[in-house]
Symmetry: C2
Subunit: 218 residues, 2 copies
C-alpha cells in the first residue's frame, strides 16, 4: 500500500458515493459472498467499473489483479473510511413520529451510532418508554450532554424549534448535528451539520414522472 504523503485530496463526488458503497457491500456481506469484481459490483450499483476502481483508489489498494475484491475486506475498509467503528455517543431530540421511526431504526445501531438518550418538551410523553429509552425533558438536555460527553445530536423537532435545540446541543459540547427539521441551522465553524430533507426525494420523483416521456439516454 502506498504511503500517503501530505494531505489526501478526496473529491466531493467520491465522498457522496461512499454511503452507497457501504449499503451495497453490506448486502453482499449478508449474502455471505466471498469475492466480487469491480465489474460485478458496479453493475449491481448502476455505475461504471471504472468509476468504482477510481473511487477506491483515493483511499488505498483493496483488490487483487485477476481476482477482484474480498467482500468482507472491502466492506471493512469502507466502514473504516466512513468512521463507522467510532461509536459516537448520541442524543435524539423530538420524539414525534419521525423521531420514533429513527429510535427503532435497525441501521441506527448497525452503523455504529450509540444512542444514549431521547428528549422532548411535551409533558404528555416525557417518561414514556420507547425501545428501552425513557423520554427525558428538554430541560435536562444541557447538563445531560456534558455529563455523558455526547458528540452527536439528532434533531427531529418541528422547524420552529430546530435552531433553539441546535444552540443547546452546541452549548453542551456536541460537534455533529443530524438535522431532519426543514430549517436551515446556523452553527460555529467547528460544528458539522448534516441535513436530511426527506421531502426532496418526493420532488425528484415528481420531476422524473413529469418528464418521463422525454427522458433522454445520455
Amino acid at each position: 500500500m502506498p504511503i500517503r504523503t501530505g494531505p489526501v485530496v478526496v473529491p466531493t463526488a467520491v465522498i457522496k458515493r461512499l454511503p452507497m458503497y457501504y449499503r451495497y457491500l453490506q448486502v453482499l456481506v449478508d449474502q455471505g459472498l466471498e469475492r466480487v469484481s469491480s465489474r460485478e459490483l458496479s453493475q449491481l450499483m448502476g455505475i461504471t467499473s471504472s468509476q468504482l476502481r477510481q473511487d477506491l483508489s483515493y483511499f488505498g489498494e483493496f483488490g487483487q489483479q485477476g481476482y477482484g475484491y474480498k467482500v468482507t475486506e472491502l466492506y471493512q475498509a469502507i466502514c473504516e473510511i466512513l468512521g463507522i467503528e467510532k461509536q459516537y455517543k448520541t442524543v435524539l431530540v423530538g420524539v414525534g413520529n419521525l423521531g420514533r421511526a429513527l429510535i427503532n431504526y435497525q441501521g441506527f445501531s448497525r452503523r455504529g451510532l450509540n444512542l444514549k438518550g431521547i428528549f422532548d418538551n411535551n409533558p404528555a410523553i416525557i417518561g414514556e418508554n420507547i425501545n428501552d429509552f425513557t423520554v427525558r425533558s428538554v430541560e435536562e438536555l444541557r447538563p445531560y450532554l456534558q455529563k455523558e460527553a455526547i458528540q452527536i445530536g439528532v434533531i427531529t423537532t418541528p422547524a420552529s424549534a430546530a435552531q433553539k435545540i441546535a444552540d443547546l446541543l452546541i452549548a453542551g459540547g456536541v460537534t455533529g448535528i443530524w438535522n431532519f427539521a426543514p430549517q436551515h441551522i446556523n452553527v460555529p465553524e467547528d460544528v458539522i451539520v448534516e441535513n436530511t430533507h426527506i421531502g426532496d426525494g418526493l420532488l425528484s420523483l415528481f420531476f422524473k414522472m413529469k418528464h418521463q416521456e422525454r427522458l433522454e439516454l445520455k
Copy 2:
C-alpha cells in the same frame, strides 16, 4: 443522465438542485418576501449567484434586470418545473413509525401529493385511524389501486417485504415508487423508483466528523 425537457437538455446536476430551490423559495414565500435577487437567494443557499442564474436559465427567464425575481413568481415556476401541480394519487404501504411520520408530514400534501389510502398487513393495526386515514389490509391493495387509479406508491415496509409490495403496486398500475426500504427494487423500464436512504445522511456525518482535520476535502 441529463433529462430533456422540451428542446433543452437539463444537466443532472441542475435537476438535483431543484428540490433545494423549492425549499428555500417556500421559506421566502412564507415570510411574505416580495423581491429577491440572485445574490441574496444564493447567499442564503450557500451557492454562487452565477450558478443560480445559470440553473434557472435552463427553464426560461424568470427575473428582471436591475430588480431581481418576484418571489411568488419564481416559486410557482419551480413548482411547475417540478410537476408539483399534478396532484398524483398515492397510497402508502407499511404503517410503522416511518409510515406514520410520513402520513402526518405537512410537506406531503403541501408538495401536491394526494394520499388516498394507507395499507399494512398487521391485523393489530388494520382498521386503525391515522390522520383521517383508515389502515386497510394489504389484501385489498391490488383492487384498490385499479379502482382509484393510483399513480404513486410509497413503500415504508421492512426490507423483506419491499419487492413483493413493489410487484403488487406495479401490477395495479402504479408508475412511480418512493421507496424507503433499504432494499434494491427491480421494476420494468416504464416505472420510476426514487429511493430515499435515510441512513446515508448519518454516514456522511460520520465521515465528515472523522476526517474533519485529517483529510482535505476538495
